[in-house]
């Protein structure tokens, strides 16, 4: 063997080793599906950050592998539409490894075999999950097992514009007494519509109450005030009571007739609703959740708690009848890991990293969502910037979750169409009740119990 042969042999070995090393250093791609949501960019962002953290650890350990997060931020109108798209993606084998979902969809994804049962993973890693606020786990449990990790939580409320209330002749004392009256059952849902309708009829505002324009969780807390319980725990089925439904739609009709609800509300875009409710100051009442404090503070240049409370009053959903209980709803968003993923464990650990107090606190504070860890509540940032969360927490006393039934999305969609029918003057209270009962029976069949 001469030197030429030896050299070419060495070059060959070096090239082979280089190729092998580069093959070993291949990225592990983790696909993340998250609805692009201005009220929570860090839902996906914290997973990306978790990837960075993990990569630093891998580099320190001298490992060749790196995690690469591929983010798919979808533009669905709401979490229900997004979940339908995601189900389709999974059905054609294009599902992600990690996905962000509204908690009530956990059941649907678990039932379809797309959400991984995380009991084992959570059980083995108490250091990573031990601080999560215990009742929140209920929101991601289906048939006794946890299929997700809560990502945030919140409180929903009616926001009243105090300046407009003052224009209606209410004193600061009257305004300050309102939340207490709602909680005591003295100020009912009908009173709220009387107030809002009056504001429209007197020309103080253009819209009495503005609510979300699409199907979503908000309406459940309103319906609860009329005795509508959507879930029968014992039978593990959805349910609806004809009488309670009629009472609820009678109220919707009353509010529509009083001009508290607008016929155009469900045809408006979120942008138009936000513009009318915040900067435009065209609405007396805006119905959504605590994270909207961020938008309101920005729109009205409010600095801190006192400034905010001079401008806005929060109400729980008032009861349907005098003496009734108010209601509220907490609607956690959750992370889930795909049961079809090739990197289930890795994906689950990324979720665990993203759910740690510090990253979660960043989401909580920047978007006014209530934190998921006990420890976050005492963090200086939360105490300093999260005054709204602290102030809203007592309202959770009246809160419930949505049921984790696979068909709750359809149930909500049908109720929403009934509300839309009444608000736009297409349906009477009775017709809306008949419509909802008819549609629930047709679409959900045996999954819903229809009671008188």
């Amino acid at each position: 063997m001469n030197w030429k042969h030896a050299l070419s042999g060495i070059v060959g070995v070096v090239l082979f080793c280089a190729a092998a090393t580069s093959a070993l250093a291949e990225d592990v791609v983790i696909k993340v599906w998250s609805r692009a949501d201005r009220s929570g960019p860090l839902r996906a962002g914290n997973i990306v950050a978790a990837g960075d953290t993990l990569n630093k650890m891998l580099a320190a350990a001298g490992a060749d592998k790196r995690v690469k997060i591929e983010l798919n931020e979808t533009n669905a109108k709401g979490y229900d539409d997004d979940a339908l798209d995601l189900l389709k993606a999974f059905a054609v084998d294009k599902g992600p490894d990690i996905f962000v979902l509204a908690h009530e969809w956990t059941g649907a994804f678990a039932e379809a075999g797309y959400a991984l049962n995380l009991e084992d993973h959570i059980g083995k890693n108490p250091e990573l999950y031990g601080d999560i606020i215990v009742p929140l786990w209920q929101a991601v449990s289906y048939k006794g097992a946890r299929y997700g990790v809560p990502q945030d939580s919140e409180v929903r409320m009616f926001f009243l514009n105090n300046d407009k209330l003052r224009k209606l002749g209410m004193t600061d004392k009257d305004i300050a007494a309102l939340p207490g009256k709602v909680d005591a059952g003295e100020f009912t849902a009908y009173d709220l519509c009387d107030l809002a309708g009056q504001a429209v009829q007197k020309g103080v505002v253009k819209y009495g109450i503005l609510h979300r324009p699409n199907a979503g969780p908000d309406f459940q807390m309103m319906m609860e005030g009329f005795g509508l319980e959507p879930y029968d725990k014992a039978a593990a089925k959805l349910q609806v009571s004809k009488a309670a439904l009629k009472d609820f739609f009678t109220w919707v009709k009353y509010c529509t007739d009083k001009k508290a609800f607008s016929a155009t509300n469900t045809a408006m875009s979120w942008d138009a609703i936000e513009q009318a409710s915040f900067a435009g100051e065209e609405a007396l009442v805006f119905f959504h959740g605590v994270w909207r404090v961020t938008d309101q503070s920005k729109a009205w240049s409010l600095k801190g708690k006192d400034d905010y409370q001079r401008k806005v009053t929060w109400l729980n959903a008032p009861a349907g009848k005098k003496g009734g209980k108010p209601s509220n709803l907490s609607h956690p968003i959750a992370y889930a890991v795909s049961a079809k993923s090739k990197n289930k464990d890795l994906a689950a650990y990324l979720v665990a990293l993203a759910s740690q107090p510090v990253p979660n606190m960043r989401h909580a504070v920047s978007t006014n969502h209530t934190p998921i860890n006990y420890g976050e509540q005492s963090m200086p940032e939360v105490v300093d910037k999260g005054w709204a969360l602290v102030a809203a927490t007592p309202m959770l006393k009246y809160a419930s979750f949505m049921p984790n039934h696979p068909k709750i999305g359809q149930y909500n969609g049908i109720i929403f169409k009934g509300i839309q029918g009444v608000e736009t003057g297409r349906l009477s209270a009775q017709a809306a009740t008949d419509f909802v009962i008819d549609e629930l029976g047709n679409e959900l069949g045996k999954d819903v119990i229809i009671r008188n």
Partner: protein, 306 residues
Amino acid sequence: MPDFARAQLRRQRINFGLFLGPALALLFLFFVAPIVIDLVLAFTDMGRTLQVSKLTLENFERMFTRDSRLLGALGVTFIFVLTTLTVFNVTFALLLALVTTAVPRQLGAFFRAVWLLPRMSPSVVYALLWLWVVDPNERGLLNQIVVHVFGMPPIDLRNNHPLLVIILANGFIGASLGMLIFTSAIRSIPEHLFHAARVDGAGSLAIVRHITLPAMRWPISYMTIHQTLSLLVSFEYILLITGGGPFYDTTVFSLYAYRRAFESGEYAYGAALSLVLVAIGVVAALAMWRLMDMQKLLQPPRIEVH
């Protein structure tokens, strides 16, 4: 078989594949295949997870016995198709063709181009313009006129007269196709007939009635059938402008199938509804074919000049 005959046959086959192949492939891919898939899906229970667990007749049982929205959707479809077709896609299109051919040639071409503009712009842009036109606030184009010119309170056409809005939106864009076809039909009438009529003392209206319209029978019949079928299945502007609402007020049958499939995730039921729509389309086309005696149009001419 002699060699040259065999070669000729081969050449014919190659030509067949070459010239008809692409069209046949497209026809199969976008027409036959979807109908076959739809036909199969309609008899399954495919829901939101796209999984099929059984073959069933339930969708049809539900459609014919329990679906209380179906009649409403059929009614809306009937009004929508009939009005858009008669008022815009045929009558207004004919009027446009008559007017733009009666004015000087370049002016006519200019106006036709203007009417074609919406067809050239993307559907979403066209729909957004309509949304702005009928916006219930003072910002809407229509309301700017209503409020500032007539001093009346703003009107909300989208909520109060939603069918009118979708008929107008579809009609104004739909008329342009008829306008083109009718214009070329008018242009193909031998010029000397017009001159002869003028010499005989016919006025403009008499010329339209006795020369132009009789020559338009086939284009009008063709456009009627074509546009009926097209209106029956198209819902993009409706979806973009009203979303089928308020409530179900502008949900035509095709949009109803879409909403069931893609809003509620009941894909099999949506497929069953679409299948019925295909059947309605076929029946409507055959009936109109018969009614308008279209067979005659396709007959070979009795006299052939060689």
